[in-house]
């Protein structure tokens, strides 16, 4: 069937999702060039929310000093910028499901490296409201969760949480409204409760901005009697604040 594949490659040549360059035989979805340009978050980063920190002197970022998150730990693969941003936009708004493979793969690498994640027993994706899910055809967090699940061999419960209210998109709201927006938007799926009672749960989402969504989900899960909740996201937004501080300090 090699011939058929070669012919398909001629008629419909595969292109890099981001830079639209022709993919080589060993590349999939993303070209090696774009892949290597993904900026991963390396220490130092905030030990609560995973945001990159300007220097080693502090352990916790400004937002985490002010606000305490209910989840015990969250890590992000990369800052919300460049290639990762394009991939997430493609996944969320352009219906390109395949990008979840790349993003999920990156997330699983982070999870495998971190000691903290060792005792996770279950994966739960942040849910979408049913109407939104029907529009989009899928829940991007669930796709990411599926990738993680197969990479890490941890079972996933896609419908552990239910979004009870169709809330407006978080991305368009200012920080102070976000919390109100998602307040009480989630509930436990009673039929699945037995599966996660007393377990350590890995909560999966695409972007971490203020943490409002993850906070709300964690609270709901803890109400549902889970022992502990850890989070993993593709990208963390709002780290530009630090970058600016950094440049100011340098001057």
């Amino acid at each position: 069937m090699n011939l058929l594949r070669d012919l398909t490659d001629l008629i419909i040549p595969p292109l890099c999702r981001v830079c639209k360059r022709r993919l080589k035989n060993d590349e999939k979805i993303l070209c090696n060039d774009c892949y290597s340009r993904i900026r991963l978050i390396t220490p130092p980063y905030c030990e609560r929310c995973g945001r990159p920190l300007p220097n080693l002197d502090i352990n916790v970022c400004n937002t985490c000093i002010v606000e305490k998150h209910p989840f015990s730990y969250v890590r992000a693969v990369s800052p919300y910028e460049g290639i990762i941003e394009s991939l997430i936009i493609l996944l969320k708004y352009n219906g390109k499901r395949q990008t979840s493979k790349i993003l999920g793969g990156l997330m699983s690498k982070v999870v495998k490296m971190e000691e903290t994640y060792r005792n996770c027993e279950l994966i739960v994706p942040v849910p979408l409201h049913t109407t939104r899910k029907r529009e989009r055809g899928y829940n991007q967090a669930e796709l990411l969760g599926n990738e993680l699940s197969s990479e890490l061999n941890i079972p996933i419960i896609p419908d552990a949480l239910i979004r009870t209210r169709a809330t407006p998109s978080q991305t368009k709201l200012p920080t102070e409204h976000r919390k109100k927006n998602v307040l009480g938007a989630f509930s436990i799926n009673k039929r699945r409760q037995e599966l996660f009672r007393g377990k350590t749960v890995l909560l999966v989402d695409d972007v971490f901005t203020t943490g409002a969504t993850l906070n709300e989900c964690t609270k709901t899960l803890i109400k549902g009697k889970t022992t502990d909740v850890l989070g993993i996201v593709c990208a963390v937004a709002g780290w530009e604040l630090y970058k600016r501080q950094e440049t100011e300090n340098n001057e």
């Binding site: 008629i11 292109l15 390109k96």
Partner: protein
């Protein structure tokens, strides 16, 4: 690893096809092939992705394949091909199948007929090939018939720049015409099921439109929905051409897009999985394409649509330019001659323009602040602009005009046509339900929208200076234009995006230099090789001669063809907008012909005519037009001289008692009086004179014979001694020209009849004179001069 492997494939394949098209001399073809390949490879070497030797070998092999493929498909025929039977005079019986959905117009039906055997009184010979049949009877697709009648070769263009019906048919692999006297229908269906379904749907939609809409609107609707352009009146099509929206009449990507969209919407309601959705949509699109008789534009759109759906299914981002090239390659394999078809070129030009230029142009002129303006004004305008860039000059090559109004017209007409198509299709669906009131509602809305569309097009057609007659750009000019267009936009795009100019800029600069060199050399060539050109047009029963001698002179107005005088068509082909002098030899209708049209549509310097009182409608209209446009005119008589023309007849002033014909104009044109370097060639135009001709002639080289060749006393020939005699004539009930007269002319030299040899072009230059008739093959020199746009 290129993004667009098929683009390179199609370009090299087309290079081969072009070589095959332009020549049938092997040696010349090979040198042409090598030259084109060199240019192609040079461009490739300049580009960012440097090809290795394997790619170059591939390209060469594909080009050679294209060349031989073209030869094989168009010049080599099996011995039992029906085209070898056209020379047989007399009737034949041929058996075969109807292989196209018949195109029914008022009282006649046109269809393609696949021949299976030819029968004569004794036996049946197996045969192949296609015939275009015109019939007064009704037939259906898939019928098996025996036709009885004469076979004819399709006529090729008889005037320079005219529409070549013969070539047009040859491009569809048809070399034989037939209008059978009688037919026998045989039992059984011999068609393909898919086409039978398509034929049924087509007939159904046609019936619905005839029932509910009708008239000009109905014809327009049939044109845009089922591709039946024949019913649209010529003047309406002319307005569409003037406004540059003629492409909406050709069923195209717009239609296929709309239909695919409607289909997926309907199929989605059933919540079928994607793959089933795609299979159903593709099948229906293919049926639609079959319904439109597989026109290049619709096949292109269908293939692209199916490929895009597949790429969606296998979740791949892909390059649309490659998809377009795949479509082109499939069409060219199916019929290599499509490459030279207007609709193929325009369809691919427009699509390539949108795919390639749109993102680049949009980048430059986008409005960032205002989303509304960006979406409603900038985007549609940019799309329209990019499509125009790909097609306008190509279209000018065929239609001779530059419709600048089209930039605006398209913005309105395309969405309106879209609405017409959607409502028209919905009307056909709704009619199935059989609810009378619903039918009426839809029918009136369809009627309303089509009327609106036609009125909008008409309105744009009336805008002053909406289009300019620029003449037909030469192939070389078009090639240079496209290279400059592509490399120019690439260079600007690169500069804005990356801040450097890159290879495209180099290509642009080289091409501009080459273009300047071409302009300079052609200009110099024209200056050092002045030429006077006399074109004796084939206008059937009538006369028209165009003389280009720096200025333009027209002698008589000839006849109309599809609502436009043949002479006007030629003038527009050459991009001539100004005629300095018009001679009218007599007020008879053969001579006036299209002159009124020409007076209305061209800038005319002066009119010279004999003073003959005459009361026909055409003559009165002609005189009225002269007065209305305030054109200087002059009654001429023997002894008058205008420029290089000396008038030999009529004698004296008003001669009421002589016959009109004998009072008609006799002219003598001397090339040497225009330019001393010219060959001394005298041309005598004999008007309609019948009696006493010997009194008004002198020795001449070229004779334009009087009145369809004349039929009176040939004694004047002893004085004239013409080396060449041109007879402008069409089939007529008097059987003119008579055999005897032709024999008389032939005693002195060559005789050219416009009805047998087509138009005749006499070129007088320094120390030479050449004569070329339309049905002869052009000499390589003239061909090269034409391709490069020197003449």
């Amino acid at each position: 690893m290129t993004r667009t492997p098929f683009l390179y494939l199609v370009i090299s394949f087309s290079t081969g096809l072009v070589c095959g098209y332009f020549t049938n001399r092997l040696l010349f073809a090979i040198s042409l092939l090598l030259l084109l390949l060199l240019i192609f490879i040079a461009v490739l070497l300049l580009s960012e992705t440097r090809p290795d030797y394997k790619d170059i070998i591939c390209i060469v092999l594909i080009s050679c394949f294209g060349f031989f493929y073209y030869e094989g498909r168009t010049r080599i025929f099996p011995e039992e091909h029906i085209r070898y039977f056209t020379h047989i005079k007399g009737d034949l019986s041929i058996l075969g199948d109807v292989i196209s959905i018949p195109d029914k117009r008022e009282d006649r039906t046109f269809f393609r007929f696949e021949v299976r055997s030819v029968m004569n009184s004794t036996d049946t010979i197996p045969m192949c090939g296609k015939v275009r049949v015109t019939l007064e009877d009704d037939v259906e697709y898939g019928n098996r018939l025996i036709l009885y009648g004469t076979l004819n070769s399709p006529p090729s263009s008889s005037n320079p720049g005219g529409f070549d019906y013969g070539r047009w048919l040859n491009r569809q692999d048809i070399y034989v015409l037939m209008s059978p006297d009688s037919l026998v229908r045989l039992e059984g269906k011999y068609g393909k099921n898919l086409i039978i379904i398509a034929a049924r749907i087509r007939t159904y939609i046609e019936k619905v439109i005839d029932n509910y809409v009708g008239g000009k609107q109905g014809a327009f609707l049939k044109g845009i929905i089922i591709g039946k352009r024949g019913g649209i009146p010529g003047d309406v099509q002319e307005v569409f051409r003037n406004t540059g929206v003629v492409h909406v009449l050709a069923v195209s990507g717009l239609h296929v897009g709309i239909i695919a969209f409607l289909l997926t919407l309907i199929i989605r309601l059933f919540r079928a999985p994607n793959i089933i959705n795609i299979i159903i949509t593709s099948t229906l699109l293919i049926i639609y394409a079959l319904m439109i008789d597989l026109r290049p534009s619709v096949v292109r759109a269908t293939i692209m649509c199916i490929l895009l759906m597949i790429s969606f299914l296998i979740r791949r981002d892909t390059d649309t330019l490659n998809t377009l090239s795949v479509a082109a390659f499939i069409i060219l394999l199916w019929n290599p001659q499509s490459l030279f078809d207007v609709s193929f070129q325009l369809s691919f030009g427009a699509t390539a323009g949108i795919i390639y230029l749109y993102p680049k142009v949009y980048e430059i002129i986008r409005v960032r602040g205002n989303k509304f303006i960006d979406n409603v004004v900038i985007k549609p305008f940019t799309i329209s602009l990019s499509a125009q860039a790909g097609t306008t000059l190509l279209a000018a090559h065929y239609f001779y005009r530059l419709p600048i109004i089209s930039l605006v017209a398209n913005l309105l007409v395309i969405p309106l046509t879209g609405i017409c198509i959607v409502t028209g299709l919905l009307l056909s669906f709704v009619n199935l339900l059989g609810i009378g009131i619903l039918n009426k509602i839809f029918a009136s809305s369809v009627y309303g929208f089509t009327t609106l569309t036609l009125n909008v097009v008409n309105m744009f057609g009336r805008v002053p200076n909406g289009h300019f007659w620029i003449g037909s750009p030469s192939p070389l000019f078009l090639i240079l234009y496209f290279i400059i267009l592509i490399s120019g936009f690439n260079a600007i795009h690169n500069f804005i995006k990356w801040g450097f100019l890159g290879v495209s800029f180099r290509v642009l600069v080289y091409t501009i230099f080459i273009s300047l060199a071409v302009v300079l050399t052609t200009g110099l060539y024209r200056v050092y090789n002045p030429e006077i050109r006399l074109t004796f047009l084939d206008v059937g029963k009538g006369n028209a001669t165009l003389i280009e001698m720096g200025e333009t002179v027209l002698i008589d107005g000839g006849s109309y063809h599809r609502g436009v005088p043949t002479a006007a068509e030629l003038l527009r082909n050459k991009g001539i907008r100004e005629i300095s002098l018009i001679f009218l030899t007599s007020p008879l209708s053969y001579d006036i012909g299209g002159l009124s049209y020409i007076l209305e549509n061209f800038k005319v310097g002066c009119v010279a005519l004999p003073f003959i009182p005459y009361g026909s409608y055409g003559y009165k209209k002609f005189l009225r037009n002269i007065k209305k446009k305030k054109i200087p005119f002059r009654f001429v008589r023997e002894g008058d001289r205008i420029a290089a023309f000396s008038i030999m007849n009529p004698k004296g002033g008003v001669e009421t008692n002589t016959k009109i014909k004998d009072a008609s104009l006799v002219l003598n044109f001397n090339a040497k009086e225009i330019n001393q370097d010219m060959e001394d060639i005298k041309t005598l135009f004999l008007g309609h004179v019948e009696n006493n001709i010997h009194e008004m002639v002198e020795e001449s080289d070229i004779l334009k014979a009087p009145y369809f060749g004349g039929n009176r006393n040939p004694s004047f020939l002893e004085i004239v001694k013409p080396e060449v005699t041109v007879i402008s004539v069409g089939s007529n009930r008097w059987g003119l020209p008579s055999e005897e007269m032709i024999e008389e002319y032939e005693r002195y030299g060559r005789v050219i009849r416009t009805d047998r040899q087509g138009a005749c072009v006499v070129r007088i230059g320094k120390g030479r004179m050449t004569i070329h008739t339309m049905f002869e093959e052009e000499s390589p020199r003239e061909r090269i001069l034409r391709w490069t746009g020197v003449r």
